[in-house]
Symmetry: C2
Subunit: 114 residues, 2 copies
DNA sequence: GCCATAGTACGGCGCTTATCGAACTACGAT
DNA sequence: ATCGTAGTTCGATAAGCGCCGTACTATGGC
């Protein structure tokens, strides 16, 4: 049995390019949109989000987000709870996450797809 | 002789994911940083920016930025003048470009590299 | 112990990307 | 017309990405 720990970059290790890259995929943007809609600090299991991809692809996307520093994940029983790292992102890159979320919302209202 | 016209997405065609992807590369971020530092509407030839890649790679990166709608390019004589599409980006995604530029500046002051 | 549920790991497939060098085109100046 | 400068185009390569299915592991409940 493994300890099932997950590597996260520290706040100082988070790189803007990695964050932008993580956010540039529609599936991952959907995850972030969902997590950002939760209450402050609230977590959700991967399975709470209905993604149009298989489980293994889901795992891949969550890893990209986690390794970029966008989300934080911890194991709780059989679930893996995920939360957005809003405080870290806001501290490092003020306004960035909000601008992306607003831009995403605007775009989705212009082009009602996905 | 070709007319040497360049295809640009219209404002409505600009997609957030494409913009984020375009900005997620260090070389392209350097280009955007440079262009954003110019006066409103001011243009610069590709050669004005000292990129650590070859000319053909430079052409590639400028095309990615142009096709994403981040920059506007027009031929003037032998040069190809480039300007950032600040008005379009600001109209579509308010605060996004500024947040990215600020984030980039902050990160560069934290980690003085590149 | 056994099973169901939640997620991981592995290997693979097809596509895209970042990069290069070398040959080419367009334009301005001489 | 020749030359130089600016940028393009054309392979090519090596790496990465998004996606899948299958087999696996971990946890909790029966």
């Amino acid at each position: 049995m493994t300890v099932r720990t997950l590597d996260h970059p520290t706040r100082a290790e988070i790189r803007l390019e990695a964050v932008l890259h993580a956010l540039s995929d529609p599936v991952r943007l959907q995850v972030v949109r969902f997590l950002a809609g939760l209450a402050e600090g609230e977590e959700a299991p991967c399975s709470a989000i209905d993604l149009a991809v298989t489980k293994s692809t889901t795992t891949h996307h969550f890893r990209v987000l986690r390794e970029a520093g966008v989300i934080h994940q911890v194991y709780r029983g059989t679930a893996k709870m995920t939360a957005i790292r809003r405080d870290d992102l806001d501290a490092l890159f003020p306004g960035l996450l909000d601008a992306v979320l607003t831009a995403d919302a605007t775009q989705r209202s212009r082009v009602p797809v996905g």
